[in-house]
Symmetry: C2
Subunit: 201 residues, 2 copies
């Protein structure tokens, strides 16, 4: 379309465009910003990409990202390692940690079962979870996948695998978000909130 | 705040956060996306950053980014090089080129005069523009800086330098954007659109 193409700039912009949530225009903006960086900054940016990939691996226990063999959360002996919270993504761990109220450990699936996208149970870290159930003393598994169709299905799939092993499997509560207005809550959320109502004492 | 920090991930995320329009959460999302890339992809991303910086420089004539000494637009002999359109940013060149209607050349300032941000006339490529006026046969300079306070001021500053040299200096027309609704136009735009009204023939 445009006959005045600056190849290295286009290439860089294509790389940015492959990142999630970055469209064509933003990718161009970012590529131009990189061009305008002082050379040391750009070099250290490129290095950070390589370093992150080289030095970060999956925790042998919970499959979260870590620089070590066992991540800091799994290695924290003050935590109750008998309660495992199963999440889709490493960022979900950070979100739950931010509540600052729960002293449990995690298991990161790195995805959800999604047949439409060709992701089956083998593609996410379910096998490692089953392995942990066998070798560790786990009393409760909290399913904290996203409240989406795929998150639900993954949660159901895993709980069906765990139930026969005599483990308590729980799910995050559904309900109206704190601070939100009922008017804007969708029917499904509202009906779940009513079903899950609790007595005021 | 968070005591479970993965240093290489934090570093990478800080680099993303320095880019324009990228906040803390997006930076984290991008850093995680880089981690999940296949190794070759991440390597080629890092290389693209270094290559772009190494191979791209300013066009000797118009100061736009180019891989060569003279950019493709300045080197295009079919263009009318007596009309120079002055823009703030290389992306503005692409925007004007997309209209496909003008066969002129450009001059990229790479910024605007902005005393509050410590950017004076010496920090942007005005000197190079004056140099071109002396050596090239330029009849008209179109000021196409953004219609912001700083864009305006820069445009005024440059036109005051050029007028004594006997060069025709013009400015982009102000008015209501095509397809927009008058109701939503601000007073200044509307009053400029009225001032600049033209007869229907």
């Amino acid at each position: 379309m445009n006959k005045y193409v600056i190849t290295p700039l286009e290439k860089l912009s294509e790389h940015f465009e492959k990142l999630p949530g970055i469209g064509g225009k933003t990718a161009k903006r970012l590529a131009y910003a990189v061009l305008k960086m002082p050379h040391e900054k750009a070099e250290s940016f490129a290095n950070a990409i390589l370093e992150a990939q080289k030095n970060i691996n999956y925790c042998k226990k919970c499959c979260n990202f870590t620089e070590k063999e066992i991540c800091d959360i799994c290695g924290d002996t003050s935590r109750d390692s008998s309660i495992v919270c199963v999440v889709e993504d490493p960022r979900d761990v950070l979100a739950i940690e931010r509540t600052g109220e729960f002293n449990l450990v995690y298991h990161v699936l790195h995805g959800v079962i999604s047949p439409l996208n060709g992701i089956g149970p083998e593609q996410i870290h379910i096998k490692e979870l089953l392995e942990r159930i066998k070798t560790e003393k786990i009393k409760e598994v909290i399913m904290a996948t996203n409240p989406t169709v795929e998150g639900e299905a993954t949660s159901m799939y895993i709980s069906k695998l765990l139930k026969p092993l005599g483990i308590k499997v729980t799910r995050l509560a559904y309900g109206v978000p704190v601070g939100a207005s009922l008017e804007y809550a969708d029917e499904v959320t509202l009906s779940r909130a009513l079903q899950g109502r609790s007595e005021i004492v």
